[in-house]
Amino acid sequence: MESKVKEQQSIPVSKVQRAAKFISTGAKVGGNYMKHYAKKVVNPSMTNEQLHTDNATDIYNSLSQLKGSALKVAQMMSMDKNILPRAYQDKFTMAQYSAPPLSYPLVVKTFQKYFGKAPEQMYETFTRSAVNAASIGQVHQATMKGKKLAIKIQYPGVADSVSSDLKLVRPFALRLLNMNEKELDHYMEEVEGKLLEETDYVLEVQRSREISGACSHIEDLTFPNYYEELSSERIITMDWIEGNHIKEWLETNPSQAEKNRIGQALWDFYHHQVHNLKQLHADPHPGNFIIQKDGKLGIIDFGCVKILPEDFYQGYFALIKRDLLINEEELNAIFYGLEFISDKDTEEEKTYFKAVFKEMISLLGKPFHSETFDFADNSYFEQIFKLGDRISNDKMFKKSRQARGSRHGLYINRTYFGLYNLLNQLEANIKTTKPDWLK
């Protein structure tokens, strides 16, 4: 018994600590408000600027102490306000992580509710405690007919609490991202919709099968089988993928050719989804990619899938055409289409934002502008962060009264940023393929 308790606790412990970190940030931000109002009593002319700087510093300090995804949030935050969903999502998942794992009786109850059987009756073996925590559930290991299976079970009440959880994070996000409410609401719906979708395991199984089937021809990739008859609204049964996560794999000192091969598989996977399927795995979290012993890249977790509307797709990717950066008229039309600028802007704002977005796009689209691109090049990423820093400290952005960028862009930006990051980690040199219409 004793050892079992420990085992269960060892999984989320670091995540709990991370959640605690967030809470302390929240407390500090609250403190800044106190300070602000106290100062204002003495000196009524004090502006909100000071407050925002205080907040930003505290948040940044706190985030930079964190490793992993939260650090990425800080980096992405300075890069583009579009990282909102990421910050939201991390906050949201952290809230979930801080929940202790499901007790075994509840696991049994969940099985009985959906299948009328205990897990022991469904599989030959079934681990009593969770082997892994997923964002809104936990993973158990089972075997059946000699095959190792992964069973994902959702925490009860998660689907029901998405909206209220988002409301809870809202004030935090408002301060964290230094946005106005209008801007926030612009993205809110998109995030909420995606999170709700993630709680629908039936949909996830269906999408997993669809996308992994459509991508099965891509070299060096492998996907688990999903077992529909052993899955339900709250339970997913799939093959267990054995192997190393990218970080662990890199510690085994793979050759450059190997790294390029894995990176290329990753690139091809996204290329096919974005340009051919027009729907994609929008969660390039390192934990979702597993490199197997036979050198194939296993991809799991299709909980977050973004479907690209055709007109958004055309506009977004037309931007990476290199020569387009000169063609002013076409560019204007696309900027309007993607809601980067609108008629509400003054002439001054229009010129300013067009210039900034152009710069951003030419930088972010850089990998597409040559036949191959070396993602090991850290100076490229530094350039991105520098630009981001500049933008986030720019008064024009802070003062802007409206949301910029189509909401469809949220998850695409997040996905590409995540992909670039993974490729950077892999130090891979990639053949950056483009669809024919962009060549």
Binding site: P100, S103, Y104, P105, L106, V108, K109, G157, D160
Partner: protein, 221 residues
Amino acid sequence: MENTTAKKASKADPKGKIISGYVEYVLEHGQEPVSIYKFAKELKMKEEDFYSYFTSFEAIKSAVWGKLFDDTIQNLESQEVFKEYSAREKLLGFLFTLVEELKKNRSYLLSLYADHKDLKKLLPKEVKSFKSKFKDFANEIILEGKETEEIASRPVISDKYDEALWLQVWFVFQFWLNDSSPAFEKTDAAIEKSVNLAFDLMGKSALDTFIDFAKFLYQNK
């Protein structure tokens, strides 16, 4: 033919017949029968015969609760894995199964208890048998928990653990009555969280070590 078997069954178990008759009456009418006379008449029973089984509606309600408990335990013990559970898991298992049993009688329970603001005052009489049965069950769990050191023995306080667990059952019942989430998922979450809290409180904690240390300092001053 059907009639005779029914009669035979009711003759063999008039108590059961009264209980199910009562539940049915509450379900159909949304309230208790006006008097025992009327209710006995409806059951085609003589009032004096009725009294040889139950003397009041409270006694029937209490029997309904007792049956809920028995069904829960029966169901629980039929789950093979139950024997292997730790104390914490046994309590969890009990509450999850209880909620399942309650679900079968939700309309009955709602029509009797949904409007009562202060359930604590009302219930002691009606849930007496349920309570005493549960306390036996709880004491078994507590004893087992103490053996496996899941639960810390503390002077005075540990004698009240069964009472505390009973309050927890009551909390879960009230929560469930007001739960409107699909499939009562929120109740599941409430059970998990409250049982974890209860066992974390009953388990050995920093507080015990602190008291021990304080005692040591005091004695060695």
